[in-house]
C-alpha cells in the first residue's frame, strides 16, 4: 500500500507508521463502536496516512461528512469529529450536538480530534455555546508533515504563504519547526542547517530553541539527513509564476493535483470493459492517483513534456511484444510462465493506456495544430498556451520587461481569467525588480476597469507580498541575478537534459539553483547575489554525540532535506530529483513544504475573497 514511501533514500514509511500509531491510540481511547464525522478537507491528507481498513479494525463502523443538521442514526457508542480548528466548523458541530436526541438510548459519546492542533479559541467558542462539556475527549492529531512520496513531504497548509508574508502570522512556521522536530526524532538530528530568508531564520531559531527546551529530544539515532536547507518562498517569487513544463507540472497546471489525486475529463478514457462497450460514455471525471508506486509514472513525471511521447511510444512497443509472446508459448511450462506474468503486464498495460490518454489531453492544449488566418478570430486554447508561454519566456530572459506588454493587454481585453493576468503581470514585475510607475498604473487601471474595482484589494495584497511592486531607485537587479545564477539557458536539451533548466524549457528555477550551488561549490561563491535576495542567509550546526558522527563511505551521497516555506511547485521537485540522479552529483534530495502549489493556486490564496464564505 505504501511501498512507494520506502523506495527512496530515506524510508518515509516510518513517518507514516508514526502517524498511524497516533491515530490508533486515539481511537482506542474511545472504547466501543464509533462513527467518524469528517471535515471534508481532511479526508485527502488522511487518506495518505490510513485506509478505511485501519479505522475499521478499531471499531469505526460509519463515516459521515460534517454538515449542519441532525447526525444520522448510526447505532454506535461514539461520535468523533475530525476537524480543522476553524470557527465555522465549530458552529456546525454545535448544531449537530444540540440536535442530538437526549432521550435516545443508549446515548452516544462525543469526541473531537483537532487536526493539526487543538485550538483554545475553538474550545472557548464551544464553551460559550454551551456544548464544550459534551465532549469527552478533546485532542489534537499533529498531522504536520504528511508523506506524499518516497522523497516528498507536505504540510498541506493552504494559507501558509499568505499568513507568513501578508499577515505576519508565524503559526505555520511553528508547525513547520514542530514537523522538523518529529522528523529528527525519527531520523536523527540533522547536523547542518542552512537557510535563506526571514522565515527560514525563524524556523531555525525555533528548532534550536525547542531542542534546548526539551532535552529529552536528544536522541541516539544515527542521522539519516546530512543537511537541512530552509528556503523562503519569497526568496524566489519568480518560479511559481511561470508555467511548469514537466509532465507532472503540466498535469497540475491544467487539471490540478490534490493529495496525489487528479480528476480528468473522462472522454479520452475507454470504458472499463470492452464487453460493456456501446454504453454511454462516462460523464463523471476520471480520478487517478499519481505517485511513484506506478512504475511508468515515476519514470515520466519529471521529464519535460516534450520527452514524454517517445517514452510512451517505446513502452507501447515493448508491451505489445510481450503480449505477442503468447503465440510462442508452446509448452505447458512456457504458458505457465506467460500466465504468471499476466498481472504485471496487465497493470503495465492499463498504466500505459492512462498516461497515453493524459498525454493526449495535454497535447491538445499545448501544441499549436492550426492557425487562424482571420484578423480577429479567437485564439484556440493551444494557440493561447503558446502565446502565454512566449511572453513568460521573454520576461524570464529579460526582454521588454519595462514596458506595457501587448499580449497582456489583449488578454485583459478578451477578459481572460484574472488569475492568468495577475500571474503574468506579477512575473513581469518580478523579472524587472518592480514596474515603472507608468506601467504599474496602466495595468492596475486596465484590471480594475475590466474585472471590477473591488479587485483593488487583491492588487494591494499582491503588493504587500512583493509580487507586484514599484521599481525603486530606478535599478533593476534581475539581470545580474539571472546571469550570476545562470537562470536562463539558451541551449536547453529537453530530451536528454544536462541542466535543471529543462523543467521550464530554458528557465532554471532560482530556488533549486540555490540548493545546487550550496552543495557545490558552496554559497560563498555567490555572496553578492545572496545579498540582493530578501532576508538573511545563515548556517547553523547541531552538535551530535561523538558516537553518531558520520564517517562517510567513499562515493556515498549526502542527503539534503530542502524545506520550502510557503510552497513548492512540481517543476522544482522535478529539478531537485534531476540533481539527485545526476551521476557524481554527490547529493540526494528529500523535499518538504508547507503546501504543494502552482501559480494559479498560489495567486488564488492571495486574492481577497470577494463573496462571503459559502458556510
Amino acid at each position: 500500500m505504501a511501498a512507494h514511501l520506502s523506495s527512496g533514500r530515506v524510508n518515509l514509511t516510518a513517518l507514516r507508521e508514526a502517524g498511524r500509531r497516533e491515530l490508533r491510540e486515539f481511537l482506542d481511547k474511545c472504547a466501543g463502536s464509533k462513527a467518524i464525522v469528517w471535515d471534508e478537507y481532511l479526508t485527502g491528507p488522511f487518506g495518505l496516512i490510513a485506509q478505511y481498513s485501519l479505522l475499521k479494525e478499531h471499531e469505526v463502523e460509519k463515516m459521515f461528512t460534517l454538515k449542519p443538521g441532525r447526525l444520522p442514526q448510526a447505532d454506535v457508542r461514539n461520535i468523533i469529529f475530525f476537524v480543522r480548528p476553524r470557527l465555522e466548523l465549530m458552529d456546525i458541530i454545535t448544531d449537530n450536538v444540540r440536535r442530538e436526541d437526549r432521550g435516545r438510548s443508549p446515548q452516544r459519546d462525543f469526541h473531537i480530534l483537532f487536526v493539526p492542533r487543538r485550538s483554545l479559541l475553538c474550545e472557548q467558542w464551544l464553551k460559550e455555546q454551551g456544548v464544550l462539556g459534551s465532549f469527552i475527549h478533546r485532542e489534537q492529531y499533529s498531522l504536520d508533515l504528511i508523506p506524499f512520496d518516497g522523497d516528498l513531504l507536505s504540510m498541506e497548509s493552504e494559507s501558509a504563504f499568505k499568513e507568513c508574508y501578508l499577515e505576519n502570522d508565524q503559526t505555520s512556521l511553528y508547525h513547520a519547526a514542530k514537523g522538523l522536530m518529529t522528523l529528527q526524532a525519527l531520523y536523527g538530528t540533522i547536523p547542518q542547517i542552512f537557510g535563506k530568508g526571514d522565515c527560514a531564520r525563524h524556523v531555525a531559531n525555533m528548532m534550536i530553541r525547542m531542542k534546548r527546551e526539551f532535552p529529552g529530544s536528544q536522541n541516539s539515532i544515527f542521522p539519516v539527513f546530512d543537511t537541512l536547507l530552509l528556503l523562503d518562498r519569497n526568496v524566489d517569487l519568480l518560479t511559481p509564476l511561470a508555467t511548469q513544463l514537466t509532465y507532472e507540472g503540466l498535469i497540475d497546471e491544467i487539471y490540478g493535483i490534490q493529495n496525489t489525486y487528479v480528476k480528468l475529463p473522462p472522454e479520452k478514457f475507454a470504458p472499463k470493459k470492452q464487453g460493456e462497450g456501446g454504453k454511454d460514455l462516462p460523464t463523471e471525471p476520471k480520478k487517478l492517483q499519481l505517485n511513484s508506486a506506478e512504475e511508468l509514472y515515476a519514470e515520466i513525471r519529471d521529464k519535460n513534456f516534450n520527452a514524454v511521447g517517445s517514452v510512451l511510444s517505446k513502452k507501447a512497443k515493448i508491451i505489445s511484444a510481450a503480449f505477442e509472446e503468447r503465440h510462442h508459448a508452446k509448452t505447458v511450462g512456457e504458458i505457465k510462465q506467460f500466465v504468471s506474468q499476466l498481472p504485471h503486464m496487465q497493470a503495465a498495460r492499463s498504466s500505459l493506456a492512462n498516461h497515453t490518454s493524459i498525454a493526449e489531453l495535454i497535447k491538445d492544449i499545448t501544441t499549436v495544430s492550426c492557425y487562424c488566418i482571420g484578423f480577429y478570430s479567437f485564439p484556440t486554447a493551444s494557440e493561447d498556451f503558446f502565446d502565454n508561454l512566449t511572453v513568460e519566456q521573454e520576461f524570464m530572459s529579460g526582454i521588454d520587461t519595462d514596458k506595457v506588454n501587448n499580449y497582456i493587454e489583449d488578454c485583459i481585453a478578451q477578459k481572460h481569467s484574472l488569475i492568468k493576468i495577475l500571474r503574468l503581470v506579477c512575473l513581469q514585475s518580478v523579472c524587472n525588480n518592480g514596474l515603472k510607475q507608468k506601467v504599474l498604473d496602466h495595468y492596475k487601471r486596465e484590471i480594475l476597469q475590466t474585472y471590477g474595482y473591488e479587485h483593488i484589494l487583491t492588487l494591494n495584497n499582491l503588493e504587500k507580498a512583493g509580487l507586484l511592486k514599484l521599481q525603486t531607485g530606478g535599478r533593476n537587479n534581475y539581470p545580474t541575478i539571472r546571469k550570476t545564477l545562470r537562470l536562463w539557458m539558451d541551449d536547453v536539451n529537453e530530451q536528454n537534459p544536462n541542466d535543471i533548466s529543462y523543467v521550464y524549457s530554458g528557465y532554471a528555477p532560482l530556488s533549486v539553483r540555490l540548493a545546487q550551488l550550496l552543495a557545490r561549490p558552496g554559497w560563498r561563491s555567490i555572496e553578492e547575489v545572496l545579498k540582493m535576495l530578501p532576508g538573511p542567509h545563515f548556517e547553523e550546526r547541531q552538535q551530535l554525540p561523538t558516537g553518531l558522527q558520520k564517517k562517510r563511505q567513499h562515493g556515498e551521497n549526502r542527503v539534503t532535506l530542502v524545506f520550502f516555506l510557503g510552497g513548492v511547485t512540481y517543476a522544482e521537485i522535478a529539478a531537485l530529483r534531476f540533481l539527485s540522479q545526476m551521476e557524481d552529483g554527490g547529493t540526494e534530495y528529500v523535499i518538504a513544504t508547507t503546501k504543494l502549489i502552482n501559480g494559479t493556486t498560489w495567486i488564488k490564496s492571495l486574492m481577497e475573497k470577494l463573496e462571503p464564505a459559502p458556510f
Binding site: Q73, I136, Q170, I319
Partner: protein
C-alpha cells in the same frame, strides 16, 4: 513589441500540426536561421515520426488484448471508476453513509447531494469573538434551528482538562498551552505580568497561544494601554490585526489602525466593507463616503471611479428595466437582458451601453456618462466591435463602432468582415482609392442603395482619385 517568434507562429509557418518551439530566444536578426536551426527542438512529438499517432495505434493494439486477460480476479488494488481505491477514506464515507439505515427526514436531502456546507448560510461577519468575552450571547447563524437556546450539556465531562495549579510561571503557562493544555490566565493581574506573558507567548511563535493571550489582554486591559503596548510588539500586533480581520471586529480594527497611523490600511479596510452591502442604494452611499478616506494617491481615483460607475449603473438600470418591461423597445425585445447591469465592471457596462443604446441621439451617450470623450474610448473600439459581434449585435450597431476604429487598415478589415458596406465605401472614398472601390462593387447586392452609392461616387468628377 511584436517578437519574431509570435509573428512566426501566426503567419510564417505552415499550417498543420507543425512544431512550435518551447524555447524562445531573444530577438535576433537571423530569424530565418533561428527557425530552421535544429538546435531548437520542437515542443511536440516529432513531425516525421509522429510518435503520438503511433502511440494511438499501439494503444488500440494494447486495448484489444483485454479479451485474453480478464482483469477481474487479479490481486491488484481495486479501484472504483472514479479512481478512488476501494477502501480509501473518502470512498468509505460514501459507502458507509449510504448504507446507514435511516437518515433523519428533513436532513436527507442535505445528506445526499453536495458534500459542501453550502446549505448553511453564513456571513463571516456574524462572528464576533469579542462578544464571547464580553459575555454577550452570540447570534447563531443557522436559519433552521428553532430549538437552540438551551445549551444541552449532554453529559458531565468525564475528563476535565483544566489545570488547577496556580503557580505556573508565565513561561510554563505558555509551554503548557503550546502542548494543548488549558490554563487559567486570570491570575496574571498586573500589567507587568500580562506583558511578560505576552512576550513569552510571542517568543514561542505559536499563533494559537499568542492569540489566546491577546484575547485575554484585550478583555482585561484598557484599549489605549493595549494599543500602546502592542505598538512596540510588532509580532503580537500582527496577530491581533489578523485576528480582528478574521472575526470581523471592524470597529476595533479601525481604531487600532488609526492609533497606529496606518491610514491607507484604514481606508482599504473600510472600503472592503462595501462587499457586505447588498442594497445598491446603500452601497452607493457607502462608496460616496469612501471617497474622503485617506487612500494613497493612486488608489483614490479608482475609488472615485467605482462610485461614479455605480451611480451611473443605477440610472441605467432603472431606465432599462422600465424599457424592457414596457416591451416597446425593439432591441430589448429581440435581445432580452440576461442580467442586471448593477455591480458589473466598467468595461462590461460600456459594452452593455453600446449594445442597447446605440440608437439614441448620442450613440456614445453611455461613454460620455462614464466620463470618456467620443474620440478616446477607455478601450479600443475594435474591441467594442468584437464583443458586440460575439453577442450577435445587428449590423447597424456594429457599423456605428467600426466607423470609430482609428487605424484605417483595421477599420477596413473589420468593416469588410462584418459587411459594414457604408464604412468600407466611405473609407475607400477618403483614401481616394478608385480601384478598390470598383472592386468592392461586386461585394454589394445588385440594385442596392450601396451599389448606387458606389456608382455615384465613381461618377463624381470632384473627387481626385489617386488611381
Amino acid at each position: 513589441a511584436d517578437c519574431p517568434s509570435r509573428r512566426a507562429s501566426r503567419g510564417g509557418r505552415p499550417s498543420s500540426g507543425r512544431a512550435v518551439p518551447l524555447q524562445m530566444s531573444r530577438a535576433r536578426a537571423d530569424e530565418e536561421e533561428y527557425w530552421h536551426s535544429s538546435k531548437f527542438r520542437a515542443f511536440t512529438f516529432d513531425d516525421e515520426d509522429d510518435e503520438l499517432s503511433q502511440l494511438k495505434e499501439s494503444k488500440r493494439a494494447v486495448n484489444s488484448l483485454r479479451d485474453i486477460v480478464d482483469d477481474d480476479d487479479d490481486d491488484l488494488e481495486k479501484v472504483s471508476w472514479s479512481g478512488e481505491p476501494v477502501g480509501s477514506i473518502s470512498w468509505s464515507i460514501k459507502e458507509t453513509a449510504s448504507s446507514s439505515s435511516s437518515l433523519e427526514g428533513r436532513d436527507t436531502s442535505q445528506q445526499k447531494g453536495s458534500s459542501s456546507y453550502a446549505a448553511l448560510p453564513k456571513q463571516v461577519s456574524s462572528y464576533s469573538l469579542s462578544s464571547l468575552f464580553k459575555g454577550e450571547v452570540p447570534h447563531m447563524s443557522f436559519s433552521d434551528t428553532g430549538v437552540k437556546n438551551y445549551a444541552p450539556e449532554l453529559r458531565r465531562p468525564k475528563a476535565e482538562y483544566k489545570d488547577y495549579s496556580n503557580d505556573w510561571s508565565p513561561r510554563d503557562t505558555v509551554r503548557r498551552m503550546q502542548r494543548g493544555k488549558v490554563c487559567s490566565l486570570e491570575r496574571f493581574r498586573s500589567l507587568q505580568d500580562k506583558l511578560v506573558l505576552l512576550d513569552e507567548a510571542v517568543a514561542g511563535h505559536d499563533g494559537n497561544v499568542i492569540t489566546a493571550v491577546l484575547i485575554f489582554l484585550k478583555r482585561t486591559l484598557r484599549r489605549e494601554v493595549l494599543f500602546r503596548e502592542l505598538e512596540v510588539r510588532q509580532v503580537a500586533l500582527c496577530h491581533l490585526i489578523h485576528f480582528l480581520k478574521e472575526t470581523g471586529e471592524q470597529k476595533l480594527l479601525l481604531d487600532l489602525l488609526r492609533f497606529l497611523d496606518r491610514t491607507e490600511e484604514v481606508a482599504l479596510s473600510q472600503y472592503r466593507e462595501h462587499l457586505n452591502i447588498q442594497d445598491v442604494e446603500k452601497k452607493r452611499e457607502f462608496l460616496k463616503g469612501c471617497i474622503g478616506l485617506p487612500f494613497s494617491a493612486e488608489d483614490i481615483s479608482h475609488i472615485q471611479d467605482h462610485y461614479t460607475l455605480l451611480e451611473r449603473q443605477i440610472i441605467i438600470e432603472a431606465n432599462d428595466r422600465h424599457l424592457a418591461m414596457a416591451g416597446q423597445s425593439e432591441i430589448f425585445r429581440k435581445y432580452p437582458r440576461k442580467a442586471s447591469i448593477l455591480n458589473m465592471p466598467l468595461v462590461t457596462t460600456l459594452f452593455y451601453s453600446c449594445f442597447y443604446h446605440y440608437t439614441e441621439a448620442e450613440p456614445l451617450l453611455a461613454m460620455n456618462w462614464l466620463g470618456y470623450t467620443k474620440k478616446k474610448a477607455p478601450i479600443g473600439f475594435h474591441r467594442v466591435v468584437e464583443i458586440l459581434q460575439r453577442n450577435n449585435a445587428p449590423v447597424q450597431v456594429l457599423q456605428e463602432y467600426v466607423r470609430l476604429v482609428e487605424d484605417v487598415e483595421t477599420r477596413l478589415n473589420l468593416a469588410t468582415k462584418y459587411k459594414c458596406h457604408d464604412v468600407v465605401i466611405d473609407t475607400y472614398r477618403d483614401l481616394k482609392d478608385r480601384i478598390q472601390l470598383m472592386a468592392y462593387k461586386c461585394k454589394v447586392e445588385r440594385g442596392s442603395a450601396e451599389e448606387e452609392k458606389i456608382n455615384s461616387l465613381l461618377s463624381n468628377m470632384q473627387i481626385r482619385w489617386k488611381n
